[in-house]
Symmetry: C2
Amino acid sequence: MVPHDDGASAPPAEDAPSSSGFLDDGKNTIGSQLASRLREAIISGELQAGSKINLDKARKTFNVSLSPLREGLARLISDGLVEFEDNRGYRVSSISLANLEEITVLREELEVFALRESMRIGDVEWEGNVMRALHRLNRTERDAARPETLERWEEFHREFHLTLISGCGKPILLHFCSLLLNLNDRYRRVFLTRTSGDRNVSQEHSEIAQGAVARDLDYACDMLRQHIHRTGTNLRNHLATKGTL
Amino acid sequence: MVPHDDGASAPPAEDAPSSSGFLDDGKNTIGSQLASRLREAIISGELQAGSKINLDKARKTFNVSLSPLREGLARLISDGLVEFEDNRGYRVSSISLANLEEITVLREELEVFALRESMRIGDVEWEGNVMRALHRLNRTERDAARPETLERWEEFHREFHLTLISGCGKPILLHFCSLLLNLNDRYRRVFLTRTSGDRNVSQEHSEIAQGAVARDLDYACDMLRQHIHRTGTNLRNHLATKGTL
DNA sequence: CCTTGACAGATAATCGATTATTTGGATAGT
DNA sequence: ACTATCCAAATAATCGATTATCTGTCAAGG
């Protein structure tokens, strides 16, 4: 058995190919790396919603050739972050009130359903993963002044929600939830750099997680639904205020 | 230089299911056309589930270059019909009992939810579309001896189910349902060339549609759920019998 | 002044060739 | 015999250049 160097994500050297590293995991091809970079650029708001993606400029910006660029963009289409039309190219998916509301509603339906299934059939390892994800999340500070803490918090937050439903044994459902989470996170990162004053998000997460491992189906599902709903409401308000739609 | 076309080149405008399409195309690029051809090949079972897709062979089979081939395959990944791994290429998604059951369960959840929403907010035009889709479907014969009737029936059947939920005003949800329908249709086309004897599928569709336009929420949803469930059960039985899984 | 059509620049799609990676099999060492 | 290592064929990824398509502009005709 190979020691699986887990731990914190090692900062990948900018351009260091395989030479000495024997543990080169996932992101091997340029296309894959691009997909990650583009995804981050879109979710973080660096690439504005609705804007056109000029292949030539993108090619120069990222110092890659067309083929891997298209490859990367193709994956973001699967993620719902990029749209495409024949002969007309790619553009960053638009945001809108209706879109946000749909995402929220679908998260309430799907994530809650997945949580229920997880509680129904999840095993002890799942419980452990949930508690770990909760702990890491609540131990991570979220300081709007330091962007790197935001990014880290976002990562752990996403991880927490996915872990929560990871016991459901339904890969397609997990895939759907993952997409919705992606879409939702973009709204939060663009419009919400801090938590609304009247919420204690850490406590909300704790309540959900503890209800989940205690297999208190109705309680946990209700907490999760409210959690999602509150976030949706907050986002809607900020979108209405700041957004120029 | 002109790409020489061997005999297989069919008139590309042939399969125009666009009910209202005065603008003929949409399938402009080679990549788009390939996506359609590959999708049909997979759903119909021509390309066996789980099999590897050799790019070189596929390139020759379809008389295209690598770029559009990858383009087309990328779209099928979005559809869940093809899987991909870095440096290891593409393969047709596997089928399994668990996969079938998940698809069925998710269809029951999502399609029924979408139907309810459609009945709640769908307009008169939606009602009309439903009735038209129902009529076309029930007027189309399904003769296992003539494959072209099967294809046509499948097309109308898919169209019916999508139309039924098209009034819900939720594009992402519709997208999810469309994917699930794709995945489900593959099972049916591989394992069920005719309807189970104890079912009257036309009547089932009629009941759903009429309940829908009558806005009888609970009735229509219940009928749809049963309809999906029965299909799932039938498929499971055939899969257990014929399939070597 | 408005419409129509043609031209040119911009942009996307595709190709053929090249480079990188994986995989299976042969070979050498224990 | 068994394992590890290295090679070569197969396969995927990437590149640079070419071809096809679109889009805006401008001039001619009504």
